[in-house]
Structure formats: structure tokens, C-alpha cells
């Protein structure tokens, strides 16, 4: 297993290198620039700004410079927020996004696994149809509809929560629900499918024949195999959840990372874009590694290779 992890680490290096290179040239070859949109800036000011950030140098030289900084772990300055570096922005906003992401993940796992297990055990009954219909709704309602609807119902009409803000513990409830709903729906469907697949197998019948009760069969025998699809899905899903959601953060006014990702693209904030792409990529790669390890642990048929 140590060899497996070590090899994956080594493989990550060229992947990140290619990603950084591709991102760099895609950003630079596109029309426009970070200071092209600022109308009030005169040509002289713009030239000075570009010189300050090294944007007047030949492209390839800029590329080498950027790579040198990245190797040192320095993501560079932000054009949009000149007083802060990209590292500072990410390290300040990431904990907020990560907290929201973890809470949404908890919502997704609790609701999703519960619904999936009930539906699989009571297949083709009322207890299957209702949770699965709800899950389908969860998949079909966009986040930016779900958010306003929850605000309208629970904040404006019932007045249980604040409509926006990120101060009190209860301010976490609505954003976590909004963000987690889609994932809960997905988890429910995957858990149901995975469990049904396992419950059909011979070793479950053997367990039943030996007199194991439904709870023991579910938790002791079926759950391990039935969770495989859920685990595969959770890898990229967790990476997405923890690195922030633009929509939820905008609707609820949360100072998270998702907003920086998107505004960076709008502002052509080159270093910020590069920083977010690499940050996200590292997350996805790490989560995929964790998932592969968990899958081997869950499924005795698999081996590290």
C-alpha cells in the first residue's frame, strides 16, 4: 500500500505540471487582460500596472517566472485585491468553504444513506417510491431555486433563521441544506442501487438461512459491498463540496472560496485563476487517492496494483 500511495504521489507531479501549463497558456492566449476592462485607467497607468506585474515581458519568460513561483508554493499576487496574495485569500476563505462543505456532506450522508437503505430494504413499496421521488426532485431542482425557496419558507415566513449571513451556528442550517440536497439525492440513489445489487447475492441468502435478522444482514453483510458506488461518487463530490459553491455562497452571503474562483475568471485575475485551478486539482487528486484506498478496504476482491 505504501508503494501504491508513493507511486500515485509521483504521478501527480506531471499531472499538475501539465495542468498549470495548459491553464497558463489558455488564459494568456485568450483576448483581454486584467487591466483591459478598467475604463478609467489611462493607457499610461495601464502600462505601468502591467509592468509592475511583469505582464509586459515576453510570454514564455512570464511562463517560466510563474512556474518558478509555483514550485516555491507561491501562488502570486491578486490583481483584484492588490493588498493580498492568492495564498492569503485561499487560506482565509477555504476554512469557511470547508466548514460549509462538511456540514453539507453530513446532510447528504445522513439523508441520503437513510433514504437509500430504507428504499432498498422495502423495494417497490411506498417506502421505496416516496424517498426515491424526493431524490429525483432533489436532482432536478437547481441550487439557485432551492436556496431562495428555503429562505422564503424558513427565513421570511416562519422566521426560524436569518435569510443570509454567516455569524451564528444556526446560520449554517439553510446553506448546508441547500448545498447538501443535490448530493443527498445522488447518494440515496447510489446507495439504493448498490444495496439492491448486494442483497440479491447468494451470501445474503445464506445469512438469511442462518437466521440473521434484517438489521444484522444490512449492517453486517450488505452495507460494506453496497457502499462501493457511494464511495466512488463521494471522492470528487467531497472535493467539490469543500472547495466551495459559488451559488450557495452568493445567495447566503457567505465569505467562502467559491466566489473567488468565479470572480477570478470574470476579472481575468491570472494568478487567482491559476491558484484556484491548482488548489482544486490537488483536492480532487487527493480525494481520488483516498477513495481508491477505501475501495480496496471495502472490497476484498480488489488489490493495490
Amino acid at each position: 500500500m505504501i508503494r501504491f500511495v508513493a507511486r500515485r504521489f509521483l504521478e501527480t507531479i506531471p499531472v499538475l505540471f501539465i495542468l498549470a501549463t495548459a491553464t497558463f497558456f489558455m488564459m494568456r492566449l485568450a483576448p483581454g487582460g486584467p487591466f483591459a476592462t478598467e475604463k478609467q485607467a489611462s493607457r499610461e497607468v495601464r502600462a505601468r500596472m502591467e509592468a509592475h506585474y511583469g505582464l509586459d515581458k515576453p510570454l514564455f519568460q512570464q511562463y517560466l517566472l510563474q512556474m518558478k513561483h509555483l514550485l516555491r508554493g507561491d501562488l502570486g499576487p491578486s490583481y483584484k485585491y492588490p493588498s493580498r496574495t492568492v495564498n492569503e485569500i485561499i487560506s482565509k476563505a477555504f476554512p469557511v468553504s470547508a466548514e460549509l462543505g462538511l456540514e453539507a456532506l453530513a446532510v447528504a450522508l445522513v439523508l441520503g444513506l437513510l433514504a437509500g437503505m430504507v428504499a432498498a430494504l422495502k423495494q417497490n413499496t411506498f417506502w421505496d417510491h416516496v424517498p426515491m421521488s424526493l431524490a429525483m426532485i432533489g436532482l432536478c431542482v437547481p441550487t439557485f431555486v432551492m436556496g431562495p425557496l428555503l429562505i422564503s419558507a424558513f427565513a421570511l415566513h416562519l422566521d426560524w433563521f436569518n435569510a443570509a449571513g454567516w455569524y451564528l451556528p444556526r446560520d449554517r442550517v439553510l446553506p448546508a441544506l441547500t448545498l447538501g440536497a443535490f448530493y443527498a439525492a445522488y447518494v440515496a440513489r447510489l446507495a439504493r442501487g448498490g444495496l439492491l445489487e448486494v442483497l440479491r447475492q447468494d451470501f445474503i441468502r445464506t445469512a438469511q438461512a442462518k437466521g440473521a435478522g434484517p438489521a444484522r444482514i444490512l449492517f453486517r453483510h450488505a452495507l460494506r459491498g453496497g457502499m462501493l458506488p457511494v464511495v466512488s461518487f463521494l471522492g470528487p463530490a467531497i472535493a467539490g463540496l469543500l472547495t466551495g459553491s459559488f451559488v450557495v455562497e452568493t445567495i447566503f452571503g457567505i465569505p467562502g472560496l467559491g466566489r473567488f474562483f468565479v470572480t477570478a475568471a470574470f476579472n481575468r485575475d491570472y494568478f487567482m485563476i491559476m491558484g484556484s485551478v491548482l488548489f482544486y486539482a490537488v483536492f480532487v487528486i487527493a480525494m481520488n487517492l483516498v477513495v481508491d484506498i477505501v475501495l480496496v478496504w471495502l472490497n476484498p476482491k480488489l488489490r493495490f496494483d
Binding site: P31, F144, G194, P229, F261, Y280
Partner: protein, 283 residues
């Protein structure tokens, strides 16, 4: 459980009949047909009536009007046409790329396969929303670019599925027979292998359409999707969500239309998956 295997033709016919039956069972056809008759309403999607302003649903405007006095039903039908067009065309783009890529990778095998699949792994690590946003911001909000960009990021799963299936099928005897007959590789791939993959391809294409439509809605939320005066369901939902408290009808009908369409597409995909007995390598 499938019945005992009959004559192969008969079995496949019942597969398709079953699938067809499911297609009629859900209301997809209505959802697809409705946007096509947009000009029957008598209002245009861009015809403003500022004096009228936003009015709730009534007998002249069945779904009400928006803040500029535009008939919501007309905008909804027009927007549906755009949303479905984006959904379908982007899916076609992703289908073409994914199927060709996966088929070539699986059929070639060896080093080619390894290189191609490594590239897919790398692309999986890319933050796709950022990628699409970058494309839309940098190259302007053009509808052709919209579905090319979406299609270009949605083909990865398809290519993996197709590759896996091609690798399984190319081991079978009839492919060996085709080889022994001296058929060229391209002919084997396109005439003998790919037709056997229609089931999984159709199923995942069906499930890609709702995904693409959600992505379009998200881009519209960012203001990067379809530009005014044109509309799409994403645009309408976004506008509706902004004035949800004052004019709730502007949110309810676009959201309902979108949710119902995604609903039927997802059901269609699930139904087809069961009918064609496609094992989910995605789930």
C-alpha cells in the same frame, strides 16, 4: 429477471419494445413537443408592454407577464426551445467526442490506450465549471460556444464507458471471425463493435441531457448563458428567483417546466437503463 433467451432477434425486439413503452409512459414527448409550438400563443418572447408591467396569470396571459410586460408563456416556450437545444446539441458534441475517443482507446489497447486514458485522468482533475466559465468569459457569450464548451467537458464519462465496453466486446469470437475474414480495423470498429454499444450510449446520452441543462442554468445564473432579449429556462429561473417575493409566478412556472423536463429525462434514462439492462459503470 429476463426470460430464458429466445431467438436473438426476438429478444432484442422485446428490449426495444420495452424501452419504447417506457418512453411513452413518461411525459417526455409532451415536454419536448410544447416548446416547438411557441408561435401559437400570439405573443412574441421579446414583445414588451411596459405600461402593463408584471401581472399575475390571467386569461390573456396564461402564466402572467414579467416586469417588462412580456408574456411569460411565450418566453417560457421560447426559452424551452433554447434550453433543450443547448441540452441536445451539447450532448451530441459530448457523444461524438466521447464515443470516438473511448472506442479508439479501447480498440487500440496497449500504449495508445494508456496514453489516452491518462489524459482523461488529467482532465478529470480539472475544475470544469471554472473551465467553462473561463471559456465563456474569454471568448464571449455566444450560443454556439456555449454548447461546444459544455459538450467538450461532458464527454469524459462517456469515453470511459465506451472504452470498457469495447475492450470487453473485442475479445468475443465474432470479432475474431471478422478479423479472420480480413476486414479492416476501421470497419470492425464501426460496423461490428460500435452497434453493440448502442444501449449504454443511448442511456448515458439520455442522462447527460439533464446534466447539461443544469449546467446551462448555472451559467445563466452567472450571466454567462443566453443573452437578453433571448431567454432560456435558466435565465427565466434566475430572473424569477430575484423577484420571488413580489412576483412569485415568475419563478414557479419556469422552475416547474425545468424540473418536469429534467424529471422525465432522468426517468427516461433510468427506464432505458433497466429496459436495456445496462450495468451502471458510472454508479
Amino acid at each position: 429477471m429476463p426470460p430464458p433467451a429466445l431467438h436473438p432477434d426476438e429478444q432484442s425486439a422485446s428490449f426495444w419494445r420495452d424501452a419504447w413503452h417506457r418512453l411513452w409512459q413518461n411525459k417526455l414527448v409532451c415536454g419536448l413537443a410544447a416548446p416547438l409550438c411557441g408561435h401559437l400563443i400570439g405573443y412574441s418572447y421579446e414583445q414588451q408592454n411596459l405600461a402593463l408591467g408584471p401581472v399575475p396569470p390571467n386569461h390573456a396571459h396564461w402564466l402572467g407577464t414579467d416586469r417588462m410586460g412580456r408574456d411569460l408563456l411565450a418566453r417560457l416556450l421560447y426559452g424551452g426551445r433554447i434550453s433543450l437545444m443547448v441540452g441536445l446539441l451539447a450532448t451530441v458534441v459530448s457523444l461524438v467526442i466521447g464515443v470516438l475517443y473511448g472506442a479508439v482507446s479501447g480498440f487500440a489497447g496497449g500504449k495508445v490506450d494508456m496514453a489516452l486514458m491518462r489524459l482523461v485522468d488529467i482532465l478529470y482533475a480539472l475544475p470544469f465549471t471554472i473551465f467553462v466559465i473561463l471559456l465563456m468569459v474569454f471568448f464571449g457569450q455566444n450560443i454556439i460556444l456555449l454548447f461546444v464548451a459544455i459538450g467538450a467537458v461532458e464527454w469524459l464519462t462517456m469515453s470511459r464507458i465506451v472504452r470498457g465496453q469495447v475492450m470487453a466486446i473485442k475479445q468475443q469470437e465474432f470479432i475474431e471471425a471478422a478479423r479472420a475474414l480480413g476486414l479492416r480495423r476501421r470497419r470492425i470498429l464501426f460496423r461490428h463493435i460500435l452497434p453493440n454499444l448502442l444501449g449504454p450510449i443511448i442511456v448515458y446520452a439520455t442522462l447527460t441531457v439533464p446534466e447539461v441543462m443544469l449546467l446551462e442554468a448555472f451559467l445563466s445564473f452567472l450571466g454567462l448563458g443566453v443573452q437578453p432579449p433571448h431567454s432560456s429556462w435558466g435565465v427565466l429561473i434566475k430572473e424569477g428567483a430575484e423577484v420571488m417575493e413580489e412576483y412569485p409566478w415568475l419563478l414557479t412556472s419556469p422552475a416547474a417546466a425545468m424540473a418536469l423536463t429534467l424529471f422525465s429525462l432522468n426517468f427516461l434514462g433510468d427506464g432505458l437503463r433497466d429496459a436495456l439492462d445496462v450495468r451502471g459503470s458510472k454508479d
